[in-house]
Symmetry: C2
Subunit: 201 residues, 2 copies
């Protein structure tokens, strides 16, 4: 098994997130044994994507143009800016069909244990973006994990010091915490229930 190109493939697959030595080996054997066509397609897709995909100049998400489709859409309400951790989160909000404003995609969240600080997520571009004189409200929609909450906290502090249109301060809001639709109360965790109670309306 001292085949250099096979070892090279296994090493390259190991760099994928969540893939260890055993999985990488299994993937390499599978591709070479059963799916060489899939291997070629993956190679091509990797090259095409790394060349074509860049960050949207306004919202920082992945796009093949200077501006993504959402930021280029004149029908969206430019006074609202919703901040998410990833393009997947943005897609989830879009699927809800209940938001017509614009987005800012952090492409990460604070995670001091992994060495991911303010500079590694798009905080400075976000502050610049939010101070464009049109945005009135920034909606923080980072996750409700510990890291997502910390990120929202830090961003809220930085954003509240920014001036909005006409010099009035920016409104900074956070997605509501509460009982998920369809849940029975007895199965909702205590912390969620406590938040739902204190945030009642």
């Amino acid at each position: 098994m001292a085949e250099r190109s096979l070892e090279g493939l296994i090493d390259a697959l190991r760099r994928l997130p969540g893939v260890g030595q055993k999985s990488a080996q299994r993937m390499a054997y599978h591709l070479l044994q059963h799916d060489r066509d899939g291997a070629q397609r993956l190679a091509q897709a990797l090259q095409t994507a790394t060349l074509a995909v860049q960050h949207c100049q306004r919202c920082h998400t992945f796009t093949e143009e200077a501006l993504c489709a959402t930021c280029s859409d004149a029908q969206r309400d430019a006074r609202q800016l919703l901040v998410v951790e990833s393009p997947a989160d943005q897609a989830a909000v879009e699927r809800s069909g209940s938001y017509r404003g614009l987005y800012f995609v952090l492409m990460g969240r604070l995670s001091p244990l992994d060495g991911i600080g303010l500079a590694d997520i798009g905080v400075h571009p976000l502050l610049e973006r939010a101070a464009d004189g049109v945005v009135q409200e920034v909606i923080l929609a980072t996750g409700f994990s510990a890291e997502g909450e910390a990120t929202a906290h830090v961003l809220a502090q930085a954003l509240r010091s920014l001036p909005g249109p006409g010099g009035a301060p920016l409104t900074v809001t956070r997605l509501a915490r509460g009982v998920p639709v369809g849940s029975e109360l007895e199965y909702v965790d205590l912390s969620t229930l406590a938040h739902a109670l204190s945030d009642r309306r």
Copy 2:
């Protein structure tokens, strides 16, 4: 998120074994956000390996030459042929340092539920290989899972009908089942213990 090259990359990653939609998305975002160099290296490794890696003409394992390093080694005992499911299994036997014969790598095992039958694993090449007039003993070292046992059973039947050197029948053996080295008897499963008892020596 209607970026065609990003969607194409996610689709191509989904063809890897064990990778679903969510993992493929996470891998694609990771590569584009944090490791474009890794993406380029993976594309290169896939192309190099699919071009360079072929099957050894004698033992069917992956190799970059017509014959793999083991089959080309004149020091190995050509009278013994050990049959394994995969190159990873072959590497495990090599690491044990207790085998000096040659190998045959099936590149799979019978799995009727997945539609993998005799023709899909290298049975016919194995029968040809074992009837070369030099091989005296075939050691079946497929796994001890249900599929591995079934594969060993079917192969044993086919191999026992083959003539060995000088017309004598081939000796067909199976790896011993028994108590793993270092185990306490009370923690060994009952079926293993029963086998260890009936195969006592």
